[in-house]
Amino acid sequence: MAIEIPKNLDGLPTSQRRFVGRRVRRREDPALLTGRTEFLDDIKLPRMLHCAVLRSPFPRARIESLDVTAAEALPGVEAVVTGEDARRWSHPAASSPDGWGGHCLAGDEVRFVGEPVAAVAAQSRAAAEDALEAIEIEYEPLDPIVDPFEAMKPESPLVDEAKGTNKMLDRVFTWGDVDAAFDAAPHVFRESFRWNRVGANPTETFGAICEWDPMSLELTVRGSIQSASHFGLGRAAVFGLPSNKVNVIATPHGGSFGGRGGTRCTDVACLLSRKAEGRPVKWIEDRMEYLTAGGSQAWDRHYEVELAVDADAKVTGLRVKLVDDLGANGEPYGAICAAKPLAAFTGPYAIPVAAYDLKLVATNKLPSSPYRGMGPPPHFFVLEQMMDIAARSLAIDPAEFRRKNFIPKDAFPYTIPSGNEYDSGDYEQVLDRALELADYAGLRRQQAEARAAGRLFGVGVASAIEPGVFDWNAYAIVGLPGTGVPEGATVNIDILGMISVRVGFAMEGQGQYTLVSQLAADYFGCELEAVRVVPMDTQSAPPSFGPGGSRLGVAITGAVLGACEKIRGKMTRVVAGLMQTEPENIVFRDGKFGIPGVEGASMSVAEVAGTMLARSDLLPPDIDPRPEATHVWTAAGRTEPDAQGRAKSYLTAAQSVHVVAVEIDPETGQTEILRYAVVDDCGTRLNPVVVQGQLEGSVAQGIGAALYEEYVYDDDAQPLTTTYMDYLIPTVNEIPELLRDEVVTPSPFTPLGAKGCGEGAIHTTPAAVLCAINDALAPLGARAREVPATPNRVWNWIQEAGDGNQTPQGEGSNG
């Protein structure tokens, strides 16, 4: 039986849609607000031990000797593990690029500050930390490899001798006749950019409780794990276990944003549990561990970019060279962040050809992780600065230059040069609404006045695409072993008509359990409270990937509605039998089955469920009597990458325009955001409250990346940002009030027309803020080419421009 999932809100079987698409209060909130939600560190298991990890203080050193006997002898210590145990009992972690993973504990050499060297399981965390001090270890420090450009030179020492190179990947992708486009272009703009490391910083650090059952050889991992089934497959590979012997129980997350990581020390805790005869071992990362050695750091990038523009101000080609410093290995999926830009390489613009020269380089820094947006935010930062450089040089208003180059609304579905397909959009409408909302004309007048008075006032207009609903094929080009992205839900109706929906993911903050309730309640015409959402462990749940790549809202909508449709189909057969008619004559609407025009022919969902479970005599002979169904939703039509990496990967393309006004204090270099307007189009908004929250939070993270946040290393690869006094998360006082509006062009490809929207604004915010800063600095001839644009950096750019020391920008004559 083909399952038809409604493509828009009107397709739901209800005359009064009360929940889906409406501003619904979250069902997750009462427990969170009263401190009753059980997070990982709130869990205490019988006989549980606590883990502390000894970490390398050196970025690169040989371990000359390691002696844990004194630690093992301390009271309360139950197990100690070292790299030797890791090599005996586990394999190197899967990685991207393939082969660049490592064991969870260092062997003869440490490769970054914070790399685990040994670990203790003891009666308490304090006792475990005390025991670390009894471990005797001698290092012979080696010169660290810090600069990725030096690291690529043949004479450079190697981060990992066995690899024979520091280049994890060196590949050029060419999409179309790029050389011809640049040769023919009357204007070619070139510029270099630097994006410094930033990262997710969820308020809850990562943690896991690991239990290795020595009798059944089964592993159970509880943890604040984003993609539980994928994580479980990874642990099975690391420990050589059958995949059905690893059970992952995901606990609610205190934020995630892609940067939870945690596989390395989860594996350490698993080894400790094995050594401690199967006692559960809890590992909780502290904030300093998170900042220096957790899933914390992303996007350490050096860009060279070229833009070709024709005489009609149309962009005709884009070349991007990226040197991405991934740190000491490819394990925590940092590389996928360099692959994802292919899903939206040319942004919202109809740029016909492009090229991507991608170098992933190993250094002795922390291996880099994903972070919300997974790579496009730096890409759009550089693309949008290039658009402004071109517009400024050609004396065209930056908003109009973008309008001229937008993909027109009648061109969708639209395939970009790097192979992905955008589903729908109306970019000009979004731009117009944003300009109106921000009072763009008024801002330009204000700017003219400010400039006349010698003040540094800038306006930035930026637009970007948020690829949504990811598929692993997007990451195949960096050698990532994909495990599929199914999302399943099991909908069950009990004998009294109450509904349970079993899902495979934990709460993360995006109101997904509320969404599941909205869908089931509107579908079956009941109250939200009649729906219970039950998270399942990975061995019990239907196939699930969970949140990631702005996919879960769309995917779980497909799963829940698919399961509801299956139940409706089954119940329709039951009702047809009872009403002595054919199933085609039965209509289901507003929670009732009936025959149109036949009075009294009406049964509620509860009545049908009760009949199915209690009255076998009334059922069609061959029917499965469970009022239950599972549906697994996957995005249709995703393709394998071709020789140039081109694939249909992300299913949806949301778009936004941000307009930002800033003023810079020339004395201090401090940037103040005076106005911030956002208009976005992410298709149907399933719970507009949640969509708004995603956008607001994502803007704040974008402002952090643009102005404040940076993981700083010194010249010897020592991390300097190891507390929240050094790594500057924006507070309420750094975030401006947002002016917001929206445009809705539903996706033709997804359940209810929704698009991925969870990463959203961070794609555009750093670009927009830097566009505004560059606009403010333009009269001085100063240019911002690096984020974060801290006061110190901005002040220096102003001084350099005053001294005539900034290198000339921009347009190269083209021969």
């Binding site: 607000l33 009263t34 709130d42 969820p202 607001e696 939070g697 704040a700 929240y724 998360i729 309420v732």
Partner: protein, 168 residues
């Protein structure tokens, strides 16, 4: 060589409580591990993020920067003590739910406790006073917009009423 454990007696959310703490044990660890009050969360353990904020003798303090032994004899209020015993949310909690003032909710108990002190101290706070309190708390999900809406709504609801209800 196990360090000495010292008895700590205090009142938490209106009830007497006691437990043993090593001299080095922080108040938040004592509340969570010894008294099983896990509603108060730990975010940074160096006094910046504000997640572990609880009220000690009426003052909003960071549970990671105070030792458990220092709280001997104190009256503590934690997030578990905000709602009525019948499950009715405190107006502040209600406002957070209404205005989407939380996403993952991990930082929320700290925000609630910091604001709870403000409600008692200043029934009609200025925007500046509100921002001063919120500026000591980090949230990574909301961008603070929903939190600001919630705070405005909570104070509007509480009106000029001088005191707040709580379990304490």
């Amino acid at each position: 060589m196990s360090p000495t454990r010292i008895p700590v007696r205090l009142r938490v959310n209106g009830r007497p409580a006691e437990g043993l703490a090593e001299p080095r044990t922080s108040l938040v660890d004592f509340l969570r591990d010894e008294l099983d009050l896990t509603g108060t969360h730990v975010g940074c353990e160096h006094g910046v993020c504000g997640l572990c904020t609880v009220r000690v003798d009426g003052v909003a303090v960071r549970g990671c920067l105070m030792l458990a032994v220092q709280a001997d004899g104190a009256e503590i209020l934690t997030v578990e003590g905000l709602a009525s015993p019948d499950g009715k949310l405190h107006p502040l909690q209600e406002a957070f739910a209404e205005e989407h003032g939380l996403q993952c909710g991990f930082c929320t108990p700290g925000f609630l406790m910091a604001l709870h002190e403000l409600i008692d101290d200043e029934p009609n706070p200025s925007e500046e006073q509100i921002r001063d309190v919120l500026g000591g708390q980090l949230c990574r999900c909301t961008g603070y917009a929903g939190i600001l809406r919630a705070v405005q709504s909570a104070f509007a609801k509480l009106g000029a009423s001088p005191s707040t209800e709580s379990g304490a």
